[in-house]
C-alpha cells in the first residue's frame, strides 16, 4: 500500500476545519500563484502567440503609422499609435482571458472545483489577472520595442515615477474591470462570446487606441471617466510625450492617475460583490453546479 495514502495531518475533522487567519491568507496567496501558473507556463509552450498576438497587432499598428505619415500628422502621433498598439495586448487579454474565463471554466467543470475548494474565489481571479499580466506584458513590450525601433519613435519623459505608476494603475483598473466582467459574463451565460466581440472594436474606438481620445470631445471625456484603458492611455501619452503639443480637453496625468485609483477600488469592490452575489445565486438556482442550466 502506498505511503501517500497514509497521509493524515489532522486529528479530527473539527481540527482540519479550524483555520487560522494566517492559514486563510496563505491559502489565498498560494491560490493566486497556482492559478497564475498555467498562464505563465502556457506562454512558453504555445509559440503561436508570437504570430497571433505580436505580429498581427503590429500590422494593425503599422497601418495607422503609415496613414499618419501619409497625412503628415505631427511625428508624436506615430508614438501615440505605437503606445496604443502595445496596450491593445492588455485589453484583449482582459476581454478574452478574464471576462470570458469563468464561463469557460464552468463549461470545463473547473468552476465547481474552484467553488468547492477552501480558497476565496477572488484569489482565482487574481491569479488569472497576474498570469494574464505576465503574458500580455511580454507581448506589449515586444510590440513596443519592434515598432519603436522600426518607426523611430522618440519618447520625452519628465516624470518617470508617475508614468510607471499610471501604467500599473491602468492595469490594476483594467484587470479589476475584467474581474467584474467575468462575473457578469458568467451570469449572462451563452451571450458571453457575443459580448466579447461587442467589446473589442467599440472600446478600441472610444479608448482612443490609435488617436488621442481628446479628439472625441464629449465622448472622449465620458470614456476617460468610465474606461480604464481610455484614461490610462491618455495619461501615459501625456507623460511619455511630454514635449508634444497634446490636444487640450483632457485632464492632467495627475488627475487621471487619481481617476485610475478610484476605478481600481471601485472595480475590485464590485468584483467581490458580483462574485458573492453570483455564488449565492448559483447555489440557489443550481447554475454553477448543474451544467445543463
Amino acid at each position: 500500500m502506498s505511503a501517500a495514502f497514509n497521509y493524515r495531518p489532522t486529528a479530527s475533522p473539527q481540527e482540519a476545519a479550524a483555520w487560522t487567519r494566517r492559514q486563510i491568507l496563505a491559502t489565498d496567496l498560494r491560490a493566486v500563484g497556482g492559478r497564475a501558473y498555467p498562464r505563465v507556463t502556457g506562454m512558453f509552450r504555445e509559440k503561436s502567440w508570437v504570430f497571433f498576438e505580436i505580429l498581427l497587432p503590429f500590422l494593425a499598428t503599422s497601418a495607422f503609422v503609415f496613414v499618419y505619415r501619409a497625412l503628415q500628422a505631427p511625428p508624436e502621433y506615430v508614438g501615440f499609435v505605437v503606445l496604443g498598439g502595445a496596450m491593445t495586448a492588455f485589453w484583449l487579454n482582459v476581454i478574452w482571458m478574464m471576462a470570458q474565463q469563468l464561463w469557460w471554466e464552468k463549461s470545463q467543470g473547473n468552476l465547481e472545483l474552484y467553488f468547492a475548494a477552501p480558497m476565496n474565489i477572488m484569489a482565482v481571479l487574481f491569479g488569472m489577472a497576474v498570469g494574464g499580466f505576465v503574458m500580455s506584458s511580454t507581448r506589449a513590450v515586444a510590440v513596443l520595442a519592434i515598432a519603436t525601433t522600426l518607426y523611430g519613435v522618440s519618447f520625452a519623459i519628465d516624470q518617470w515615477f508617475l508614468l510607471i505608476a499610471v501604467f500599473f494603475l491602468t492595469l490594476a483598473a483594467l484587470y479589476g474591470l475584467g474581474m467584474v466582467l467575468a462575473g457578469l459574463f458568467l451570469m449572462w451565460g451563452r451571450e458571453a462570446w457575443h459580448l466579447t466581440q461587442l467589446m473589442i472594436e467599440p472600446v478600441y474606438f472610444v479608448s482612443g487606441l490609435n488617436f488621442p481620445v481628446g479628439r472625441l470631445g464629449i465622448v472622449g471625456s465620458l470614456a476617460i471617466s468610465l474606461l480604464p484603458l481610455a484614461v490610462g492611455l491618455d495619461a501615459m501619452r501625456q507623460l511619455a510625450f511630454a514635449d508634444a503639443a497634446y490636444p487640450l480637453g483632457t485632464p492632467s496625468p495627475e488627475i487621471e492617475a487619481l481617476i485610475l485609483v478610484g476605478m481600481t477600488v471601485f472595480f475590485l469592490l464590485a468584483a467581490r460583490l458580483t462574485l458573492r452575489l453570483l455564488e449565492r445565486l448559483a447555489r440557489k438556482e443550481g447554475r454553477l453546479s448543474v451544467r445543463w442550466q
Partner: protein
C-alpha cells in the same frame, strides 16, 4: 485519533430540492433523510434521474436545499461552507477539469495550491500521489494527452491532495473500460483502508460497484430513498426462499421427482449439457423453503441414483432488490417518462426524472 463519534459524517434531514425551470418546476429531491457514520463507505444507488447528483451537490456546498438541513461532521452546508470545503473533496466521473497544456504533475500542484499546501510540500505530495495512483510514467505528460482511465486516476489523486475527511465520488467509474474501472475501485478501497475513519459517499448506477464497495447503500429513485441497509440486508429483503442450482449426472423422473420432497417449493429443469462424448448432465433450479431442506433433497437424490456434479446457491442481486422496490429495472423507462400533457397538472415525479436525465447527460459531456 479523534473521530468525533457523536457527530455523524453526514446528517441529512428532510432535504428537498426544486429547480425552478420552465415550463414546470423540477422536483429533484423530495424529503430525503440520511445519516452516515464516520468511517463508513456509503453508496447512493439509483438510475439516471434519481436525484443522486443533486444530493451530492448539496452536500459539497455547491447547491442549496430548497428546504431541510444537511450537516457534514456537524457543519451546516448552508452557512458553514468554508469549514466543509476544508475537510472534503470530490471527484466526478467523466471529469475534464484542469488545463490540457499542463503536465500531470503541474496540474496536481496547481490544485494543491487551492488547498493551501506550501509549494514544496505540494510538489512532494503530488509526487507521492502520482506514484500511488500508478501514473509514474505519465507524470511529465500533458493532461490533454491522457487516456480516459489515466485522467480519472489523476482526478482521483487531485481529490486526495488535502487528505479529505469525507470524499464524495459521483459516478467515478462512468465511461471507463472494465480494467480502468477496476483500477479506480481498487484505489478507492486502498485509500479508504489506509487510515481508519475516512468516510466515502459514492453515487453510482452500477449495482456491482455499489455491492463491492459499500458498507451501506441507499436505493434512490425519483428523489426518494426507497431502501437503506447493507448490501446483504437489502438482498435479504427479496430473498424469501433459498434458490439452488444443481448439476446432476441424471435425474430419473425429471424435476417433478424433486417437487414432492418436503421443503421443496419448486424445481425446474434448467438445461441438459452434453459434451458429445459419454458425459451428460442435467441442471435443475431448485427453490426451497429454507436452506435446511437441502439435506433431504441430497439424500433423496442419492436414493434414486443421481450423483451431484455441482451445487451452487443463487444469491439475489441488488438489481433484484431494485426491481422489487420500484417495479422496473434500472435500464427500463419509468411510466412517468412520457412527454407531459400540457393540460394536466405536472407530476413532480415526471420532472424529477427528466432533471436527472439531463444531469447525467451533462456529466458525460
Amino acid at each position: 485519533m479523534s473521530l468525533s463519534p457523536d457527530l455523524p459524517a453526514i446528517d441529512v434531514r428532510g432535504i428537498r430540492r426544486v429547480y425552478n425551470v420552465k415550463p414546470h418546476p423540477v422536483v429533484a429531491l423530495q424529503g430525503v433523510d440520511l445519516e452516515v457514520a464516520p468511517g463508513e463507505f456509503f453508496g447512493l444507488l439509483g438510475p439516471n434521474g434519481a436525484g443522486k447528483t443533486t444530493l451530492i451537490k448539496i452536500l459539497t456546498t455547491l447547491l442549496l436545499p430548497s428546504s431541510g438541513t444537511a450537516r457534514i461532521f456537524g457543519f451546516d452546508v448552508e452557512r458553514q461552507t468554508k469549514q466543509i470545503r476544508r475537510i472534503m473533496n470530490m471527484v466526478a466521473g467523466g471529469e475534464q477539469s484542469g488545463y490540457g497544456i499542463l503536465t500531470v504533475r503541474e496540474q496536481l500542484w496547481m490544485f494543491s495550491q487551492f488547498y493551501g499546501l506550501p509549494s514544496k510540500d505540494g510538489w512532494r505530495r503530488v509526487d507521492e500521489l502520482i506514484e500511488a495512483v500508478g501514473l509514474g510514467e505519465q507524470r511529465e505528460q500533458r493532461v490533454a494527452t491522457l487516456s480516459t482511465g489515466q485522467r480519472q486516476k489523476m482526478n482521483f489523486a487531485r481529490g486526495l491532495l488535502n487528505d479529505p475527511w469525507i470524499f464524495f465520488l459521483d459516478e467515478p467509474t462512468l465511461g471507463l473500460d472494465v480494467s480502468a474501472a477496476r483500477a479506480v475501485r481498487e484505489l478507492i478501497l486502498a485509500w479508504k483502508a489506509a487510515v481508519p475513519g475516512r468516510t466515502v459517499l459514492l453515487t453510482t448506477h452500477y449495482m456491482a460497484e455499489a455491492d463491492e464497495l459499500c458498507d451501506r447503500i441507499a436505493i434512490v429513485d425519483h428523489g426518494r430513498i426507497l431502501a437503506l441497509g447493507s448490501p446483504e440486508e437489502l438482498k435479504r429483503r427479496v430473498q424469501r426462499e433459498s434458490v439452488f442450482r444443481l448439476e446432476l449426472d441424471r435425474l430419473d423422473g425429471g424435476p417433478a421427482a424433486l417437487r414432492r420432497l418436503p421443503g421443496v417449493v419448486g424445481a425446474t429443469s434448467a438445461s441438459i449439457q452434453d459434451d458429445g462424448r459419454e458425459r451428460q448432465s442435467v441442471e435443475v433450479n431448485l427453490v426451497l423453503e429454507d436452506d435446511t431442506a437441502l439435506g433431504g433433497v441430497v439424500g433423496a437424490l442419492a436414493g434414486i441414483g443421481s450423483h451431484i456434479l455441482a451445487l451452487r446457491k443463487s444469491e439475489p442481486s441488488l438489481e433484484d432488490v431494485f426491481v422489487e422496490l420500484v417495479g422496473r429495472g434500472f435500464d427500463e423507462e419509468s411510466d412517468e417518462h412520457e412527454p407531459p400533457d400540457p393540460d394536466r397538472t405536472p407530476d413532480p415525479r415526471d420532472t424529477a426524472h427528466e432533471a436527472g436525465e439531463r444531469e447525467e447527460e451533462q456529466a458525460l459531456v
